[in-house]
C-alpha cells in the first residue's frame, strides 16, 4: 500500500499492520528516513517536500510491482510525507515482509534506491531569508546501478 501524506506516521502501528498481514512470512524489514540536521545549516529552518500528484503514486505502485517480480514478498508498505518538515522529522517509511530475511532486506533497499532516483519528489531547504532546492546526489544514482541487471538482484 502507498500513502503520500502531510501527516506524520507511527512506526509501531505500521509494523503491527505488516505483522498481522504476514501469516506465512518470517521476516519484516522496516526503514525510516529522517530529516538530517547535517543538511540544515544554522540559517536553515525547515525542509519542504513537493511531489507530482498522480505520477508519484503511479511510480511507487510500479516500483512495488517490480519488487514483487524480483523477490517473493508478503506485504509492501510505503509512506512518503510532503509539505514542510523540521530537522529530525520522519520523511519516509518502507516496510517489507517476506518468508526469508534476505529477500526482505534486499527488497526494502531496492524500494528506497529506486524511490530516491525515480519518484517525483523534490526537497527545498528554507532559511531565514532564503530558500534553496536540494541538488541530486551522485551517490544516489550509484546506489541505483546495483539493481540494473534484472538477472542479478543481489
Amino acid at each position: 500500500m502507498i500513502s503520500i501524506q502531510r501527516e506524520d506516521f507511527n512506526v509501531g502501528d505500521e509494523y503491527e499492520l505488516l505483522r498481522k498481514t504476514s501469516r506465512s512470512e518470517g521476516a519484516v524489514v522496516t526503514f525510516v528516513g529522517l530529516v538530517r540536521d547535517v543538511n540544515l545549516s544554522d540559517s536553515v529552518t525547515a525542509l519542504e517536500l513537493e511531489h507530482y500528484p498522480g505520477m508519484t503514486e503511479k511510480v511507487l505502485n510500479e516500483l512495488c510491482d517490480e519488487a514483487r517480480q524480483r523477490w517473493v514478498l508478503g506485504a509492501i508498505r510505503i509512506i512518503h510525507r510532503v509539505g514542510k518538515l523540521q530537522a529530525n522529522d520522519q520523511i519516509v517509511f518502507v516496510g517489507v515482509s517476506s518468508r526469508h530475511r534476505q529477500d526482505a532486506f534486499d527488497a526494502a533497499q531496492f524500494v528506497m534506491d529506486v524511490l530516491k532516483t525515480q519518484a517525483p519528489f523534490w526537497k527545498k531547504e528554507h532559511g531565514v531569508n532564503s530558500a534553496k532546492w536540494v541538488e541530486v546526489r551522485e551517490t544516489d544514482m550509484l546506489a541505483l546501478q546495483r539493481w540494473q541487471n534484472p538477472q542479478d538482484p543481489q
Binding site: L49, E50, M55, K58, H80, K116, P120, F121, W122
Partner: protein
Amino acid sequence: MVNAVSGGWKMITIKFFASLRERLGVDSIQLELTSSITVSQLQQHLIAQHEDWSDLQQGKVLCAVNHTLCDANTTIHDGDEVAFFPPVTGG
C-alpha cells in the same frame, strides 16, 4: 503546429514542478495543437514563445507524458498531460 489557447482540437495540459516551476513563474498551462507534436518540438515551441524559458532545454529537465517518464521523441496526443521537472530528490 501550435495555436493559442481555446478552440479545442488538440488541447494539452503542461505542468511544471519544483525549481523549474519557480523559474518559469507558472505551474500549469494549456495549449491547443493543430497536429501531433513531439516532446522536443514542444520544448522548442515553448522556448521560442517565452523569452525567459531557456531552462526548458533538453538535457536540463525530465519530461513525463501522462505520468510516465519519456524521452524527447515521444509524441504528444490530444488530451495528454505533459510535465517538465528537474531531477528528483525525495526519500
